[in-house]
């Protein structure tokens, strides 16, 4: 005979305002199988929990119902409470009489009646509850980091320094990401490459880090602690072991002749040209070139092979093919970063027709000593030093009509930096900044923007630009200054658009592969916007950097370190414990139709062969991988032979609840 205890929480006034808790307790006491019922002001408080513990011992309870808030809030609390009193934690259930009752009703009588009913339903369920034991899953203590920008580098180094192995996969030929392209960083004006390259070198030399560049993650199987990752290492056509990085190949490549090359240099965002065999930038890690087959003469018409002939190390190998490797890892950090919206998206800003309308990243290259102009600000069309530069903030951001509705967060700061660095390089030049609001929340950020205005003489105009057009070698910018209510027209030599920060193309496909939710713009979603900012709803997958939302460098590094600490926390155990509320298949009745496999969103269904003692195959049935199963119950409701049940939510439990409705 069941002996259920019912504990009604007032939650201060939250529940008691609309629900007569004493009456609910009185009612609960009359229910068959209920041995004890009581109400209390805060059941989650220490005295409240002690109330439950004492009652379990004194009344010899076999099940507990706590009627209070959502299980999202305190299920863990109360299950631990009953465990302390010697009861299996899964014999404790919560009836939600706050979010689903007191908060959404006003009529006290009706709300009290509903609370009674919710309690009755849960009492009926608890009578069918059985003791469940946690599942233990082994953990592979090795991490995968996807993306070799500053986020991926920081996460990889932190995990590796924590003593665990890391595989770092980068799509491009070198690690470094966008940060390697930047000139100087706000608000301190540190040289970006100077602070970045030591980290890159550390990655390369770290004994715990395996670096795969020019490689992509193709497939992810498995689950937290036990992922199997398939990685495609694209053919560089240069042997990494033999190459000494002497650079002879790229200097001799006939496609790379300064005057004739047509291949846009991606690292300079198309502002310069490069050879077909190339290292993206001098400090690249690894310092090993790749052959761009699309533009290589050897691959296009079979006639060239100069690089192979001149290579003193005999490292060039045209026959190299893609290699596919599989790695076992226990955790995954996604650090795929961002892209900037193309400056050609805006018809009214020239639609990409004007060479002297560039985006912020391109301007970084013009400022950078390693850039196409050697750090001199010269405009792309004719190499003239621009004497008037117009910066347009929010070009695509906060624009639900032409661009994206969100704020890209970093543009206010980098635009102030651009105006400042331009003034440092072109003393007689004048910078104008069209802005809507200045968002400079951050340590020393607002001071930095004020400095651009007060000391560096940048003229800030509060308004958007309606359009710009080319005339007589200049760009006529038609904007407004809403502070004075005047239209403003500026003849500029160069226009820099702070275009919107966007998710990497293909981030949605990656998110689907990892089963991580993502928003309408392709940014990956964290598990909770405040309390779980680096975790995802896919256990064992963590986020770092701008793949989650636009971020600046300090924020990105902080998030990367946070993700690394989560990974190290997971790796602190050889086995991890999971809740046992997963599906289980009755192998005797399973008919092997595998409808469950088709509906399972987590890929948790496996095939299991049933053989007799002689080894003859009798049938193939479904088997639930407890490590992967998320306990959603889709399989249980789909199974036509009724062979699957979800532990903690069995048919008996659910039907008992349904049968108790409206009694």
């Amino acid at each position: 005979m069941a002996r259920v205890g019912v504990f009604i929480c007032h939650c201060g006034e939250n529940i008691a305002r609309t629900v007569d808790c004493a009456r609910v307790a009185e009612y609960a006491a009359t229910l068959p199988g209920v041995a004890h019922a009581v109400d209390y002001r805060y059941m989650c408080s220490d005295p409240g929990q002690r109330l439950i513990e004492t009652a379990i011992r004194e009344h010899g309870l076999t099940g507990v119902v706590v009627a209070s808030c959502s299980p999202h809030m305190h299920e863990v609390t109360f299950r631990r409470t009953v465990a302390r009193a010697g009861l299996n934690p899964f014999l404790c259930e919560m009836a939600n009489i706050r979010e689903q009752c007191s908060w959404v009703h006003e009529d006290r009588e009706a709300a009290t009646a509903k609370a009674c009913e919710l309690v009755r339903l849960m009492v009926e369920k608890v009578k069918w509850n059985t003791a469940l034991e946690p599942i233990h899953v082994p953990v592979t203590r090795k991490a995968l980091v996807i993306g070799g920008g500053i986020a991926g580098i920081q996460a990889a180094l932190d995990i590796a320094n924590g003593g665990r192995e890391v595989i770092l996969v980068e799509k491009g030929p070198s690690i470094g990401g966008h940060m390697a392209q930047l000139s100087e960083t706000f608000p301190t004006l540190d040289c970006s490459q100077c602070i970045m390259t030591p980290r890159m070198v550390e990655v390369k030399n770290h004994p715990n880090i395996t670096l795969y560049t020019y490689a992509e993650v193709e497939k992810v199987d498995g689950y937290i602690g036990n992922f199997a990752v398939t990685i495609r290492k694209k053919a560089r056509c240069v042997d990494e072991a033999l190459c000494t990085g002497c650079g002879e190949c790229q200097s001799k490549c006939p496609q790379g002749k300064l005057k004739t090359s047509v291949i846009p240099n991606e690292f300079d965002l198309g502002l310069s040209r490069r050879p077909a065999i190339y290292v993206p930038f001098p400090q690249a890690v690894p310092n090993v070139p790749v052959i761009d087959k699309e533009h290589c003469r050897y691959f296009q018409d079979g006639k060239c092979g100069v690089c192979q002939k001149v290579c003193p190390a005999k490292a060039v190998d045209f026959t190299q093919t893609d290699q596919v490797v599989t790695e076992q890892v226990g955790a995954i950090v996604v650090a795929t970063g961002y892209d900037v919206m193309s400056s050609g998206e805006y018809g009214e800003y020239g639609g990409g027709r004007y060479p002297d309308v560039i985006d912020g990243l391109q301007f970084e290259r013009l400022l950078s000593a390693s850039g196409p102009t050697g750090g001199e600000v010269k405009r792309p069309s004719d190499g003239k030093v621009p004497e008037t530069v117009v910066f347009i903030a929010c070009a695509g951001s906060r624009d639900r009509s032409h661009g994206v509705p969100y704020c890209s967060k970093i543009c206010c700061m980098y635009t102030a930096k651009h105006a400042m660095l331009y003034k440092h390089k072109v003393h007689h030049g004048q910078a104008y900044v069209f802005y809507m609001d200045i968002r400079a929340g951050g340590k020393n950020y607002d001071e930095f923007v004020r400095r651009a205005i007060e000391e560096e003489g940048a003229v800030y105009l509060r308004g958007r630009v309606s359009r710009l057009y080319q005339k007589d070698g200049q760009l006529i910018v038609k904007g407004a200054d809403t502070l004075s209510g005047q239209p403003v027209e500026i003849a500029a030599d160069l226009v820099v658009l702070a275009t919107a920060i966007q998710a990497r193309p293909g981030s949605d496909a990656l998110a689907q592969m990892l089963k991580v939710p993502y928003d309408g713009y392709g940014f990956l979603s964290e598990a909770h916007p405040k309390l779980r900012p680096v975790e995802t709803n896919s256990a064992g997958v963590y986020l770092a950097g701008a793949c989650q939302a636009p971020k600046d460098i300090p924020e990105t590094v902080a998030q990367a370190s946070a993700a690394a600490s989560k990974v190290l926390g997971l790796f602190s155990m050889e086995q991890m414990e999971r809740e046992p509320t997963v599906s289980v298949v009755n192998e005797r009745t399973c008919i092997g139709c595998f409808d469950c496999e088709r509906v399972c969103p987590f890929g948790a269904i496996e095939h299991r062969e049933i053989r007799d003692r002689r080894g003859n195959l009798l049938k193939v049935v479904s088997h639930v991988n407890e490590g992967v199963c998320a306990g959603c119950g889709a399989c249980a409701t789909t199974c036509r032979s009724g062979s699957i049940e979800l532990r903690g939510y069995t048919d008996e439990q659910v039907f008992a609840q349904i049968a108790a409705v409206g009694v």
């Binding site: 009214e348 929010c394 906060r398 624009d399 639900r400 009509s401 032409h402 661009g403 809507m436 509060r462 308004g463 958007r464 630009v465 309606s466 359009r467 038609k478 904007g479 407004a480 200054d481 809403t482 209510g485 005047q486 239209p487 403003v488």
Partner: protein
Amino acid sequence: MKLGSVAREKTRSGFLAEVRRRSGTNPADCYQCGKCTAGCPLTFAGDLDPARVMRLVQLGQRDAVLQSRTIWLCASCETCTTRCPQEVDLASVMDALRIMAREAGLTQAAREVAIANAGLLGSVKSRGRVHEMMLVLQQNLRTLHLFRDAEKGPVLMLKGKMDPLGHKRGARDQVRRLFENVARMEAAERAASTTPRCACSDEGGEA
């Protein structure tokens, strides 16, 4: 313009809500970026720039908006509507404001435009189509610019561009009934709505 009573006026007059209802676009969406002001070909001629008009609508400044010249100088070129990052249809807002100003009898700021509009519609009402020459003559008479563009008359006649005998006409009876029906329907709709016709009239006791 007094902004001391912004909040009260905004809630009391419901001006913002009325503009929203009549224009089919929400002026509250405007975040004052000024792109409309920057692109408006007529900013130079108006007394308020378009962004300012939107701001005053948001603040419920009915009289300042309806008495402004700007709403009449708007050429309905839709540049603002096309480029607005918040997808506010400013051209529709300007239409709504002109209609409200006319209803409230506040067309003094741009008499000439109001006369031109009435002139064209009068021509359509009586003939089904526009008679351009009549339009010019009427405009000059009513605005007392008797000789404006007078030198163009002979040239236009010579080129056959002005035909004193008028154009063909189209479906006159249908059109006349249409005008009458619209006037009747809108009068009924106005009577049904409780919105005051002119803010000036209910301003009195507050001062």
